[in-house]
């Protein structure tokens, strides 16, 4: 900290610098910006931060972000509760919802299998998923990451729930929308080729 700077400023800089992506210089800039905004601005920001930790919790059923016992998706009668998309983190639910293409519900594992990092199945929200599958799920969509850990988690889940007769699907992988082949990595290209889909002719599609 700059010698002679007020203790409160030093404390604020130190607090900001603990956040991801914020170094000491950015932390100082943020602290000075708050000072410039005055008391009202600082209070609003403090209130927003306090509200974040006081009001946002995890849905009892799906494990996603929620303001009450159950989240807005789980309580929505128009969502198909028998269609469950399994994701790793609560933020993945927000990402999936951005696509506005899914009318089912979610289940957040709060992690993925990572034996090398010491994360085993007991650390994932599997008991809750077991209960949901037992109550009746038509399809489980495995939307875990396209990494070795994510893929291993998907295989683990598929083995666990296949005997219950539930339909198990996996998110497709391949060429992204607007992506040019020239810029694709070899792993994505290989996967896109091995999982290519049959061409539906325009006439068949139209009929």
């Amino acid at each position: 900290m700059i010698p002679g700077s007020p203790k409160a400023l030093a404390r604020a800089v130190e607090a900001f610098a603990t956040l991801p992506g914020i170094g000491p210089k950015s932390a100082l800039r943020l602290a000075l910006a708050i000072l410039e905004r005055g008391e009202e601005g600082a209070r609003a920001l403090a209130q927003a931060i306090t509200g974040l930790v006081e009001e946002v919790r995890f849905c009892r059923r799906c494990g996603g972000f929620s303001e009450g016992e159950l989240c807005a998706i789980c309580t929505n009668p128009h969502r198909d509760a028998a269609l469950v998309c399994v994701v790793e983190q609560p933020v993945d639910v927000l990402v999936m919802e951005r696509a506005q293409a899914f009318s089912g519900t979610y289940h957040v594992l709060h992690g993925r299998l990572d034996p090398l990092g010491g994360v085993d199945a007991s650390k994932l929200r599997l008991a809750e998923l077991d209960a949901r599958v037992a109550r009746g799920v038509r399809e489980l969509i495995l939307a875990t990451s396209a990494t070795v850990d994510g893929e291993a988690t998907a295989h683990f889940l598929a083995r666990r729930y296949a005997p219950s007769g539930v339909r198990i699907t996996r998110l497709a992988r391949g060429v992204p929308e607007g992506g040019e082949l020239e810029y694709l990595d070899e792993f994505t290209l290989r996967r896109a080729l091995s999982e290519r889909v049959a061409w539906t002719s325009d006439e068949t599609a139209a009929s």
Binding site: S122, A152, F156
Partner: protein, 213 residues
Amino acid sequence: MLEDEALLVRRVAWRESSWVVHLFTRAHGRIALVAKGARRLKSPLRGHLEPLHRLHIRWRPGRIGMGVLAAAERHEALLPEARWPEGLAITAAAAMLFPEGTEEGFAALEAALFTCAKAQAPSAYVAGLWTLCSKAGIAAAADACWRCGARHDLVLAEHGLACTRCGTGPSWPEAASRALAGQTAEAKAVELALALLASIFAAQNLRLPKLGG
């Protein structure tokens, strides 16, 4: 600059955007390197630093501390995707059995993953682990109690497997041996083999990694 073939065995987040990676190399033993910026979205290392794949790496050895990973290229997977849960657990076991400074990790893990890939589905994990233990020199003969040498039925005791003659060491029923060789789909045999492996790991003060994490 050094280069070698490698297998990733551990990855620890370091600072905001980097990894410290532990690798078994074919010619340089187990090494730990800093992969600077590898967690950034656009890092050329990002998609390559994955376990269960043959990697080709180049690094600058550190003068005092850890070396720095300069490049990594991911090649083929050592076992089919359906076996990746078993493969990860075997890799975690290898990371425990072959600490830094050991030379044999690469060959042992490669052989264990190969065994896992070839074994019958339910016994793939125990067969891979057994190969690993054999390569690490901590597996006993598979047809008799490893303490008293008696050949008889296995007894499941509180602490793991017990020999009915000497009461302490594990004995080896034929079923467990078949599971360790990856030649059975029988659940009971796999369970016995797992208990046996847990005893072997416990004797080394290690905990057998759970399948599925």
